[in-house]
């Protein structure tokens, strides 16, 4: 390994952070470069992440010790299959999203554009750190950086409602952070270390202590606010509905980083506690996941605002990810990780479509889709493809991941959860098909003549839409990385 490849794990965290600090300084002297600098930084990070992915795929997980000091004294970054896969997905979607972003962003005005892109860079850097870090306190700090960037992004929304949504998000998120901090304190004082691997080695003999159990419970409760797991999803609809431009996509990606952190806490840190069956953590989480699926889907049907509808749909998908990973079998975990990827692709595409519809035609509600299939064929095409993936129509990306989770549930004898997933598919089809139906089979409104955006804006959307379908056909490509990731996480290599 050359000097550069040796330091790749820290580079993918540092490049966005350094760019985030430089961006306001550069923008002070040269105006109008904010988006280009962001593109270059995220592109460079993606390149590093791809190099790291090649390295990990060739020779296994790469561990990086900050300043060369090994744990327990130093801070470690562990780039395993799960971390690097999600990292590449987040960066690729992030890059496409920034490519799509209209410059200047009409909603938020000129001077705030610099702040907007700074927050995006901070969020991207923090997400990279969250998915690969192996130190529980570093995880907390990175979650906070991500949270601050997200609060700022949401509050930038055009009218005052963005601010209100941001404040609501901030209150709930900060309470979650406080819980995470107490949980870390409990685990630290029980084990004497902050490193996740070392913690997992020390935990089994003391796993019956109330301190450890309370610590893990607090950590999971805190992370639930960050990932929007039912019933702590209540900030999501408002935050998504009033966030400006591409901010909902970044928020979707942030949820995925939080889910990776949750998987790490459950499998890497508290895995030993689960295996000795001290608490029915798995059944509690699976139940929460199933409840999230049902309640959020029903709420989604009742929404009129499309972005709120998408937010509740995200809530249901997060429920399914949690359900998949709490079944505790290899197939369940694989399905959960695949669902993180497919849902990120499809939901990013949907939010970009929602932004296009808002800018080109002023559409915010589900009643305004009349005849859009004729007037905006490409946008509605992408919208329909992403919707197909979210619904889980056979052979799309969403279908494959749902099949994995449902199979895992059936294999473990949990028929009710397989039924929940089927029911969820029907509910999702219900609320997406009424939009698609109205778009393709109703006559267009003659008074307004909306049209597709410029080709530069269309290409990222179409790429995401095609990817969200194609991943179902080419499921073996991500599976090559997801399978070792799941095996590495499960105790005993998943056998």
């Amino acid at each position: 390994m050359s000097a550069i490849t040796l330091h790749l794990p820290i580079l993918i965290v540092l490049i966005p952070f350094v760019a985030a600090y430089l961006l306001p300084v550069i923008s002070y002297f040269i105006e109008g470069w904010a988006r280009r600098i962001t593109l270059i930084a995220v592109g460079g990070t993606l390149l590093s992440a791809l190099m790291l992915l090649a390295e990990v795929a060739a020779s296994g997980p790469v561990t990086y010790h900050l300043s060369g000091i090994a744990p327990p004294l130093g801070i470690a970054f562990e780039t395993d299959y799960l971390g690097i896969t999600i990292s590449v997905v987040i960066l690729a979607i992030g890059l496409l999203t920034i490519l799509y972003a209209q410059d200047p962003i009409t909603e938020i005005g000129g001077r705030k554009t610099v702040f907007f892109y700074t927050a995006i860079l901070l969020a991207v850097g923090a997400m990279q750190g969250i998915v690969i870090c192996a130190d529980i306190f570093t995880l907390f700090i990175l979650l906070e950086i991500l949270a601050i960037a997200m609060y700022g992004l949401v509050a930038l929304g055009g009218d005052g409602r963005g601010l209100l949504a941001g404040y609501k998000y901030l209150l709930i998120g900060s309470a979650g952070s406080a819980f995470i901090l107490i949980g870390i304190g409990f685990l630290y004082i029980s084990t004497g270390t902050l490193n996740m691997q070392l913690m997992a080695e020390i935990l089994p003999p003391i796993s019956s202590s109330w301190t450890v159990l309370a610590g893990i419970a607090l950590l999971i409760a805190g992370l639930s606010t960050k990932t929007g797991l039912f019933p702590l999803h209540i900030w999501m609809p408002d935050a998504y509905a009033y966030a400006p431009s591409i901010a909902p996509v970044i928020s979707t990606l942030a949820l995925k980083a939080g889910l990776v952190a949750l998987i790490r806490i459950i499998y890497t840190v508290s895995g030993p506690v689960i295996t000795v069956d001290q608490v029915p953590l798995q059944s509690i989480l699976a139940l929460l996941g199933a409840l999230a699926i049902v309640v959020c889907s029903i709420m989604a049907i009742r929404q009129i605002d499309i972005r709120k509808m998408f937010a509740y749909s995200s809530g249901a998908n997060i429920g399914c990810v949690v359900l998949g990973m709490s079944i505790g079998t290899l197939a369940g975990l694989e399905g959960a990780i695949l669902l993180i990827i497919t849902h990120a692709l499809a939901k990013a595409c949907l939010f970009l479509c929602a932004d296009v519809l808002l800018i080109q035609a002023g559409i915010r509600t589900i009643f305004q889709f009349r005849g859009l299939g004729q007037t905006m064929p490409y946008t509605m095409g992408a919208f329909s493809m992403a919707a197909i993936s979210i619904i889980g129509i056979p052979l799309s990306g969403g279908f494959m991941s749902k099949v994995y989770v449902a199979n895992a549930a059936i294999d473990s004898g949990l028929w009710i959860y397989a039924g929940t997933i089927l029911f969820w598919t029907l509910l999702t089809a219900l609320y997406f098909f009424r939009i698609i139906n109205s778009a393709y089979f109703d006559e267009p409104d003659q008074r307004t003549r909306p049209h597709d955006p410029r080709r530069m804006n269309l290409i990222p959307i179409m790429t995401l839409a095609v990817a969200s379908i194609l991943i179902g056909f080419l499921v073996e490509i991500p599976m090559d990385l997801i399978r070792p990731a799941a095996m590495l996480l499960l105790p005993g290599g998943g056998i």
Binding site: L163, Y167, S174
Partner: protein, 127 residues
């Protein structure tokens, strides 16, 4: 260990204080209607967590973990040091809390300018 032993309860008074403070903070966050008061509640929780962590780091009879370079007294081999790591972690957490507070207060200022009120119940009707 008997959890009802008065010595045990009194010996951990700083933990009790931090639990009581967390409860007060949670109450303020849930019950108060003013956005700034809600955030003050959160600040109380964070302060209670700092107290909790600093109590974790304390070792009975321990001294500050500073190694006196010029005065090495090797006869005192059993010198006890307090654990510096929780305090170091709290330094970082204080910075994080400061950022959050600054962000929340600036949001509150902007919300007040826009709506002329900080009453959470009335503001949430706007959403």
């Amino acid at each position: 260990m008997n959890y009802l032993d008065p010595g045990f309860i009194l010996g951990h008074y700083n933990y009790w204080v931090s639990i009581v403070l967390i409860m007060i903070g949670l109450y303020a966050m849930i019950a108060k209607r003013n956005l700034i008061k809600k955030f003050i509640g959160l600040n109380i929780i964070e302060t209670a967590i700092f107290l909790f962590y600093i109590s974790l780091g304390d070792v009975e009879g321990g001294v500050a973990p500073i190694f006196p370079k010029d005065a090495i007294d090797l006869s005192q081999e059993t010198i006890l040091y307090a654990n510096p790591l929780p305090s170091a972690m709290m330094l970082t957490a204080i910075v994080v809390t400061l950022c959050m507070t600054a962000l929340a207060l600036s949001f509150a200022v902007l919300i007040y300018r826009q709506y002329g009120t900080l009453d959470a119940r009335r503001l949430m009707e706007e959403l």
